[in-house]
């Protein structure tokens, strides 16, 4: 025989498929320990999150009906479209000590800021640079006013929220700080500091708030907040900050200007005062989810342990092989 054989192959672990590998087997021990591990990690996180959430004091006041004078409540839409005085005074009682900063939010309901037609109805380049003010192609139908471009154009800006809130305590005004309510990246990069509103809300129908044409867009923080469109049809947006502590049981007088039309589509409006924790606002979801999953895993670990005790199977029991179960081998 030819002894000088040509071994024309590469004798590697790759081609011979013998790369070192770990072969995890999901044995009951593993399953139970994994569950236990998850529960041990999750339960503390859940507790911490819940505690954080519990520390947050939140006052929610739904006003879209209450702020309409009782006789007008039959046709809310007519009221909101009228020129009547829409001021509405209400008192809120602070349930617990609220440390500053206290964030003021408005929350809208059934408002589809994420509708495709709405989301794309803006011109980012126009917002950044006055040179691009004619770039309004994506803004239809709020692109032009009498032939000249609207800045900021588009439906989003046009429908800017225009309810206003002012707060007083013991007839003493509580300043609402409206600076720093938007993300810095938005302010700095998306809205130019030399872009000023033009032709805004000039149309026959006003969608919402007007803008001060002397203030550059980068300082119009209400607009900036509004234009970071929300993901869901129910959303909160930051209105301002109250930078004093509010004591428990204090009465806060709120003066609302109920201007914004949510009545045509049955949207709710809420005023929210909230403190924050390290986790942010009051949100039990994460804490509950962590606790639930942690608890569930603990329960599952126990359940699996019991099941394994009740119905044990020896690891690698050949009698479980299909051909051993059915000797005919079909």
């Amino acid at each position: 025989m030819n002894t000088n054989l040509c071994f024309c192959y590469s004798d590697s672990k790759f081609t011979q498929q013998e790369l070192p590998a770990c072969k995890p087997i999901l044995t009951p021990q593993w399953v139970i320990s994994a569950f236990m591990l998850v529960s041990f990690v999750f339960i503390p996180i859940g507790v911490a999150s819940l505690l954080a959430s519990r520390d947050v004091v939140e006052i929610i006041y739904q006003y879209e009906t209450e702020c309409i004078p009782a006789p007008m409540r039959g046709d809310k839409l007519k009221f909101i479209q009228s020129t009547e005085n829409k001021t509405c005074n209400r008192k809120l009682i602070v349930p617990k000590l609220m440390k500053q900063p206290i964030y003021v939010y408005y929350q809208l309901d059934n408002f589809f800021q994420n509708h495709r037609r709405y989301v794309k109805s803006r011109s980012d380049v126009q917002l950044q640079d006055p040179k691009n003010e004619n770039d309004t192609s994506s803004c239809d139908p709020e692109d032009l006013s009498n032939g000249s471009p609207i800045v900021p154009c588009g439906l989003i800006a046009w429908s800017l929220f225009n309810d206003t809130y002012s707060f007083s305590r013991n007839n003493q005004n509580l300043t609402v700080n409206k600076r720093g309510i938007s993300w810095k990246s938005d302010r700095d990069s998306k809205f130019g500091d030399n872009v000023f509103p033009k032709n805004f809300q000039n149309g026959t129908i006003k969608g919402g708030a007007s803008l001060d044409t002397t203030i550059p867009l980068s300082e119009q923080e209400d607009l900036i907040v509004w234009m970071r469109t929300a993901a869901l049809p129910t959303f909160r947006k930051l209105y301002g900050k109250i930078e004093v502590d509010l004591q428990a049981n204090e009465v806060i007088d709120v003066t609302l200007q109920n201007n914004y039309n949510t009545y045509s589509f049955d949207g709710k409006k809420k005023l929210v005062l909230s403190t924050t924790s390290w986790l942010g606002g009051k949100n039990n979801f994460l804490g509950i989810a962590y606790l639930t999953v942690g608890g569930l895993c603990f329960f599952l670990a126990m359940a699996f342990a019991v099941i394994y005790l009740v119905k044990p199977r020896r690891l690698g029991d050949p009698s479980y092989l299909s051909w051993n179960k059915n000797p005919a081998g079909h």
Binding site: K23, I25, F112, N114, V119, L279, G316
Partner: protein, 1249 residues
Amino acid sequence: MQFLSTIPPSGFSLRIVSAIPKMSGWDRVRSSRSRLGGLSRNSHASEPQPSSRTVRLGRVQPQAPGYRTIYCNDREANLPVRFKGNSIATTKYSIFTFLPKGLFEQFRRVANLYFLMISILSTTPISPVHPITNVAPLSLVLFVSLVKEAFEDWKRLQNDKAINSTLIGVLQDQKWEHIPWRKLQVGDIVRVKQDGFFPADLLFLASTNPDGICYIETANLDGETNLKIRKALERTWDFLTPDKASKFKGEMQCEQPNNSLYTFTGNLIVENQTLPLSPNQILLRGCSLRNTEYIVGAVIFTGHETKVMMNAMNVPSKRSTLERKLDKLILTLFGALFLMCLIGAVGSGVFISRKYYYLGLGESVENQFNPSNRFLVATLTMFTLITLYSTIIPISLYVSIETVKFIQSTQFINKDLHMYHIETNTLALARTSNLNEELGQVEYIFSDKTGTLTRNLMDFFKCSIGGEVYGTGNTETQKGAAQRNGIIVEEVWKSATAVHEKGFNFDDARLMRGAWRNERNPDTCKEFFRCLAICHTVLPEGDESPEKITYQAASPDEAALVTAAKNFGFLFYRRTPTMIKVRESHVEKMGKTQDVSYEILNVLEFNSTRKRQSVVCRYPDGRLVLYCKGADSVIYERLADGNNEIKKSTREHLEQFGSAGLRTLCLAYRDLSCNLYESWNEKFIQAKSSLRDREKKLDEVADLIENDLILIGSTAIEDKLQDGVPSCIETLARAGIKIWVLTGDKMETAINIAYACKLINNDMKQFIISSETEAIREVENQGGQVEIARFIKETVEQELKKCLKEAQRYLCAVSRPKLALIIDGKCLTYALEPSLRGNLLNLSLNCSSVVCCRVSPLQKAQVTSLVKKGAQKITLSIGDGANDVSMIQAAHVGIGISGLEGMQAVMASDFAIAQFRFLTDLLLVHGRWSYLRICKVVMYFFYKNLTFTLTQFWFTFQTGFSGQRFYDDWNQSLYNVIFTALPVIIVGLFDKDVSASLSKKYPELYKEGIRNSFFKWRVVGVWAFFSLYQSLVFYHFVTTSSSNGHNFSGKMFGLWDVSTMAFTCVVVTVNLRLLMACNSITRWHHISVAGSILAWFVFIFIYSGIMTPYDRQENVFFVIYVLMSTFYFYLTLLLVPIVALLGDFIYHGLQRWFFPYDYQIIQEIHRHDPDDNSREELLEIGNQLTPEEQRSYAISQLPRETSKHTGFAFDSPGYESFFASQQGVYAPQKPWDVARRASMRSQRTPKKI
């Protein structure tokens, strides 16, 4: 100048061209051709003829249509016909056609076409996504595919270029000029040197060898490495030197280019003589010249018209069953897509309303949002959503699967040491990468016997001379039978005379060393030996001594017979074209040696219709003898009357040999008178020169002389099993694979082999349906064809019904014995008829092994398709010879044995392995792994795209069904091609449930593939369920928890913050989910999974960190930094993937514990085993040739009257091309001519010394 005469039949074309003395022969030929141009209907019919040449000379001779005429050594004359050039192009594309053609090829795939349509749709305003979302993945997929195509084509181009520019010597101006191959033209005279390749199909004119012969190697054509002989016509021997060759002028008329490698008909008309041409004068492109200094030839066919190129046709590629099921899955996805879009569309129609004044739905609003026409809104939204949800169809799936399969076949299968055959230095070869996973689901194996199960190494083992049996050895079959009967077989002491060499394993002192002289009839012995030494087409090689001489033969049987003659003292040592020289010992008296020359007058060759071979030879003393060897059936019907004693005992012996698993041949001779021979020879020569039906006529003429034979005796040759066949078959049987043996052999041989291979054992109930029963025989002897057919059909029908009934009874029985069916070819012909097919299928599917014997290649294919189509099972055919080609092509998976018998089976196959036993590795290891891996890859693709798309779907409900996208365009487009692409390929390559050795140790694991356990709708359902679950978790957990401020600053997230969060969770989870699905995790898994997740983060860091002038809405600007500044991000990133994976984890935990798959149990049993990388075992050959007990049981089970079988199994595979026989051409290649001409070599050798 008109010579009118009757027109001879075109088949017999001895063409007379009358001469005009003044004209040279060449001119005459040319002018007559130009006249013929108008008559013949071939390519040059419409060519304008120069008027100067339209001189009418000679007789008008119509040519059969489809003949081409070539003027040798006259380019000008050939010009009008415009033969194709000699350059070849095997490339699929050129620079200009590459893009259009390549893209067209790509868009023939439905998935690509779909994405093209989606891409076009996404450029319209209707689309919610930027076109990039769909264009990017599509372009990437197309790019990868096109690069692959271009690379392959580039390699072909380089190859073509190299070939086309090879230099060849062409006769120009009485000199050999070297020109590249591509410039060669039809009719050119070329010179090919030793070891050179023929540049085109050539007419062989002259050779430096005496006698005008040359040797060629045809390995490129048919893989046969033995040298073939070609002989030039004597008339042209002289045209060897440039000056002589330039005088050669001739006209050649030959067939049009065709793809039949072994046939050629044509005439050479040279100086008024018409010389018939045969394949013997044709040198085909692709062959190379050997042992000859140089040859001169004329070009006949060039370039793409050469026979080898005409043969290079694309075999339609097979698609795997799994891929076809995948199409159904894709269709289901389309269904799901449609449903989702429908729901969304209806929703949008209902939602849209002017009350949402902030959407600006004025009177002039575009159609899609026009509340006045809700139906239109819904319809357009449908399209919007189709583009949005297009990710549900995994576009990169096909590319990924192809990549995985390509690496699997080229790196794993082709390089596996387990399938390395050290003796032939052959590795396995995957010729297609389409069918890897099909190997994991094979349920039926159809195997050829000879060369596949057996070695095709023939040993002369026994013989019967003049009614006496010689040879004391016992076959393994007999040993087994004896042991079963309780007889202890004593190992017979080998006598001193015992010789065992290749082809000879015989021991009987009565015959060896001249001892035959003392036998009862030494004359018969002498005839026997002479017949062995003379009647064959073997070539001697090497030194002319008994020890050193070797024989080259087309079939190993022949070599064994000549070797036997040598050992009996009749050394065939030299062959000249007309002589056979035999060194005969002990003929005159003991110990005396003499050289005798026998003149070979005619050779009547073997073919499968004749089943015999004869030689007419003249003794030195003038005695004329015809020696004949062949199948007992044909020999017996040609025997002279009388001598009944010998006939009877020889027949008994034949039966004995046959049942012992030996291959038999009958030998006979006939003394011829001179007159008889002369008159016959005339007819023979006539037949030989006929152009049409030459082979058939030759057969008819041969029949005239092959009768009145006198029986000498018979030979018996042992056919050895391949290494490891029985244990391999046993393993495969345990794996739930049913093995059918389809063989041309006789029933007993087949049964014997089946026993030896452990296919059949005594515990099995055997059903035998044979045509060799007394009843059938009787009818055959009396009735006409119709009667016989009717009778056999009825019998077969009855048998089938009976067996079926019995089989059903057995299947209901408690013990349930395994069943085996043995059926022969003749019965099969009828059983395969549509009316009986159902019964046959029913019966055979209930049997665990089936043996079909005496079947033709066509029947092999029919049986294969019967099971493939009728039973919808996955079939595999394995064979080594040309006769297995049809079967190999018919089956789902065709496997060729890259062994000794030529390459045709390999050429037709999908995989080639060196040994049958490598099937274990190929199926149980590679096939099973590929199946598991591909299933996993497909399922994972399905899952990841469904999950991703469903999150979009849930979002649609909260956007007023407007079709707003959830994810950024680039995120969505890179999801498939970057963030989740690599790990799944790694799994497709490296996932291993159990190691290779365990796969073979527990072949039953393979059944999971046969049952298709991993690609069932149930499995799809489980994945789909978890997709649904996970997508709900992703969407709702992320959105619900995002509804508040998220750090001390109290600022709120926008849409793009939430979507980026969700996307991050999806990417992380989907990648981790893959790790959970892995059975083994290598470092590549870690690298790819971690790399993919990291790639996402790197991407989003860069992508969201920059502002571009390019028009993208600055949606995602800075989102990741905003997100990462909150605890929320980290808490969600921990929570969501774990919750999402929890479901799968519980499912797997429960499934593994209560309903474990087999492989999981095996994993557990061997969980403590170290990795078995026992390399030293690799090259060891397990020799499992232990004699299996009781395997001749089947023989005893045969109905006695049917046992008329005699083991005739002589076949000469090299002679016949399956293709040729399909075209009705018999024995196209001439082994005799090969042998005769090769004898020149042995003449030359002494001269040189």
